[in-house]
């Protein structure tokens, strides 16, 4: 199927890879179907796009968080995860976090409080509020990168 997108022009998408977010996303309740654009090697890329297939002009840049913030440990209730259907181990879950990327790179934030979790078996996804009190909706990612650079030096 061909989809007209805001950022990538017209792209061919594999209908078998379409994900369903039954409740949409907060602020986008009527955007139910998505495709995760990870390009060729999803393990390596630090940023993906969650592209809505209902509305081509809706696409969220998301962070491949476990690849970038090694200490990220979201705590989610089992009952909530069960809404995404069955999975055998956590490798079958994809976790990514919505980025806000304004023109000023200093103000890039990532929502660590409400990650997007996708079950690749059932192709169901949700944006879930985690229990962790230390995570915020607007975590400054740029400062975090700068800080980790300094620690490495």
């Amino acid at each position: 199927m061909l989809l007209n997108t805001k950022n990538f022009g017209q792209i061919e998408i594999d209908e078998n890879k379409i994900l369903t977010f039954e409740d949409g996303l907060p602020g986008f309740l009527d955007c139910i179907h998505y495709i995760l654009l990870t390009n060729d090697d999803k393990e390596q890329r630090p940023i993906w796009w969650l592209q809505c297939t209902d509305k081509g002009n809706v696409a969220f840049p998301v962070l491949n968080t476990f690849a970038v913030l090694e200490n990220y440990r979201p705590e989610v209730d089992d009952e909530t995860l069960a809404l995404l259907g069955e999975f055998e181990n956590s490798n079958e879950l994809i976790v990514c976090n919505v980025l806000v990327v304004p023109q000023d790179i200093n103000n890039i934030t990532v929502n660590l409080k409400a990650p997007i979790i996708i079950n690749i078996n059932t192709k169901k996804g949700m944006q879930i509020e985690v229990r962790n009190k230390e995570y915020t909706v607007r975590h400054n990612l740029y400062q975090e990168i700068e800080k980790s650079k300094k620690t490495e030096e």
Binding site: F60, R138, Y142
Partner: protein, 76 residues
């Protein structure tokens, strides 16, 4: 808006399948218990509004800066 007075241990019912209990009251804090089908999403309002706002800003992200950020993250 409908206003109801409830005591500790009492509840209200919304539709057939949602029940909200007053579990306890301490000073200006009220502890609520909510029984609802699993498909009903429940959020603290202020957090929900922050997530909504963040998502709306996310779709207006600057694509060039996203690419710049990606290069920066890859070079680490």
């Amino acid at each position: 808006m409908l206003a109801l007075t409830r005591k500790k241990g009492e509840s209200i019912v919304i539709s057939d399948d949602i029940e909200v209990f007053v579990i306890g009251v301490q000073g200006d804090q009220v502890k609520l218990g909510i029984k609802a089908p699993r498909s009903v999403s429940i959020y603290r309002k202020e957090i929900y509004e922050q997530i909504q706002q963040q998502n709306k800003e996310a779709v207006n992200s600057d694509e060039d800066v996203v690419n710049k950020l990606e290069d920066l993250l890859k070079s680490r």
